[in-house]
């Protein structure tokens, strides 16, 4: 058989180019199309979670924002009272009640009637009730109990919380786990929900809260007298009157951070501290119904004193329904109205602070970014022009190429010396 020696036949440039382009086109077609996702609103990330991600990207301290929220709601304004009034007005309007008459105008009000009754009720209540009827210091203590439980049964008495109220708070903390969520909801199986509730009840009865740090469970307990944490001034003196409600909760956050550090080590202090700050705000909004319900009695007393004598009396349960009762009848819009308004109004306050902080910081970043890149571009351009001017300032505009070359070479004359003549 004859020997066949393969001949080397290299491809020309255009032949190589065709092969390369065929390969790249086939690769591009094989790539998955960029998916423009159109996610429905109900499945999008919550504004709260998205804002937290943006704050992390921008380097904004989350705890600073949470502290601002707590100070605004608990120390500086009467937003809480205004929201209770507004939610009460809304709850009664949904039942067809137009104050001061507590007899329903209609048992099935239309949407425009509900809105009109609500405005009327709100006006009536605002004109007749004092602007600050909520004891926010006590509210912060009750929130602490709902977060950390009753250690040895003595935390509640040390915080001036009666036994009945203590039992209510722990029940409501367990029932209220699924009442409202400001985060995108986690997927939880029904059996896990029940298990988690049972576990939570045990923790609250015992007065211990479990946190997971690097797969280790860490139990954090408050002292038997939580006042030593909540009411401690910066100089170390325990004084309930010198510490505001918001400051109490901020001290609680710091305490949890310190405890986590001492239990789980230095590296974990910030992760739990920050997580607890977020948990505290989430739970505050979630449990707000339970925390303000006792103060609804102030409003019902006012309404009952002002109503016509033949109209029925209004009780607390006609306006606000506890979490445990809500969880037994979750689809009743009338029962949910008060809680829905309270929680959403408070969430609006929180989100407005977060969004304003984010937009301010973002605007500053963008302005600095464009200014800085524009300055750098101008500097480079100016440097190049200056260099050209320095080289060609000695020659006229119509100088020949040789003259321009000679002029440019002058800049190197200290190095080249006499060699300059040989190069021209």
């Amino acid at each position: 058989m004859a020997l066949n020696i393969p001949q080397n036949r290299p491809l020309t440039d255009s032949q190589k180019e065709v092969k390369a382009k065929i390969g790249s086109m086939k690769n591009i077609l094989a790539l998955p199309f960029r998916d423009n996702r159109n996610i429905p609103k109900s499945r999008q990330i919550s504004l709260f979670d998205y804002s937290l991600q943006l704050m992390d990207s921008l380097g904004i301290d989350q705890q600073f924002v949470f502290n601002s929220f707590l100070e605004k709601v608990l120390d500086k304004t009467n937003i809480l009272e205004e929201n209770v009034v507004s939610s009460t007005a809304s709850s009664l309007a949904r039942k067809g009640v137009k104050l001061p008459d507590t007899s329903p105008v209609t048992n099935d009000p239309r949407d425009d009637q509900i809105e009109s009754f609500k405005q009327n009720n709100e006006r009536f209540l605002s004109n007749n009730i004092s602007s600050s009827f909520i004891d926010k210091k006590q509210l912060s203590r009750e929130l602490t109990l709902m977060l950390f439980g009753d250690r040895n049964g003595s935390s509640s008495s040390n915080m001036n919380i009666s036994q009945n109220r203590r039992d209510d708070l722990i029940n409501e903390a367990v029932c209220g786990v699924n009442t409202f969520s400001i985060s995108s909801e986690p997927s939880e199986r029904n059996e896990d929900v029940e298990f988690n509730k049972i576990d939570l009840r045990k923790q609250l009865e015992k007065g211990e809260v479990k946190y997971e740090i690097n797969c280790n469970e860490v139990n954090i307990q408050l002292p038997e007298d939580p006042g030593t944490v909540l009411d401690r001034r910066d100089d170390g003196v325990i004084s309930s009157s010198s510490v505001t409600p918001a400051q109490s909760l901020q001290k609680l956050t710091k305490f949890v951070g310190n405890e986590a550090r001492s239990i789980a080590g230095e590296n974990n202090q910030n992760s739990v501290g920050k997580t607890f700050g977020r948990t505290l705000v989430e739970k505050f909004v979630n449990y707000i119904n339970t925390l303000v319900i006792p103060y609804v009695d102030t409003i019902t007393a006012l309404i009952n004193n002002s109503k016509p004598s033949n109209s029925p009396s209004i009780s607390r349960s006609d306006i606000a329904v506890a979490n445990c009762e809500l969880s037994n009848d979750p689809n009743n819009p009338e029962k949910k109205e008060f809680t829905k308004k309270m929680a959403n109004n408070l969430l609006t306050e929180l989100l407005s602070i977060m969004v304003v902080t984010i937009l301010k910081e973002f605007k500053t970043l963008v302005a600095n970014y464009f200014a800085r890149t524009a300055i750098e571009r101008q500097k480079r351009k100016a440097q190049k022009m200056l260099m050209k001017f320095q080289i060609f300032s000695q020659v006229g505009e119509n100088a020949s190429k040789a003259q321009k070359f000679a002029s440019a070479l002058q800049t190197l004359s200290p190095i080249l010396g006499n060699e300059t003549q040989n190069l021209v």
Binding site: L47, Y50, N178, E185, L351, V366
Partner: protein, 138 residues
């Protein structure tokens, strides 16, 4: 699922993102328009050169920590080759494929001379001054 839902008016994460993208666009510093003399002076520009562009880019590699020149053991610096290829193709596309669609603004001054013998005036003229227009690269 939570018993009490978040109100629809608070589900604004997408709107938040749109707002921030809007701010990003609004705050950018627009490139200023050139004056007519500056535009006419552009005749003396040397034109694009892929080689000069490549060398300018490579000269800035150090700013961002990319090594320039041959690598260890004399290996070719692939980043430099990559830059060269990209610049060559971009400049080639600009010089050979790009088209600028231009629309001139109305109001250019014209001087013309002409005459008529009792019928429509026939005039021949020319613009007397440079005039503005807008071009869009395609």
């Amino acid at each position: 699922m939570a018993i009490v839902e978040i109100e629809e008016q608070l589900n604004k994460s997408e709107e938040m993102a749109d707002m921030m993208l809007f701010l990003l666009n609004e705050d950018r510093i627009p490139v200023p328009s050139l004056s007519i003399p500056e535009l006419l002076m552009a005749k003396i520009r040397p034109g694009l050169s892929a080689e000069i562009l490549t060398s300018t880019i490579i000269s800035r590699f150090e700013e961002i920590g990319i090594p320039s020149g041959p690598l260890l053991n004399g290996h070719t610096n692939v980043m430099e080759q990559y830059t060269k290829v990209i610049m060559e193709e971009i400049v080639s596309a600009i010089q050979n494929d790009m088209r600028i669609d231009v629309a001139t603004d109305p109001g250019a001054s014209v001087t013309a001379t002409g005459a008529n013998a009792g019928g429509p005036l026939t005039a021949v003229g020319a613009t007397v001054a440079p005039h503005t227009g807008t071009g869009v690269a395609r």
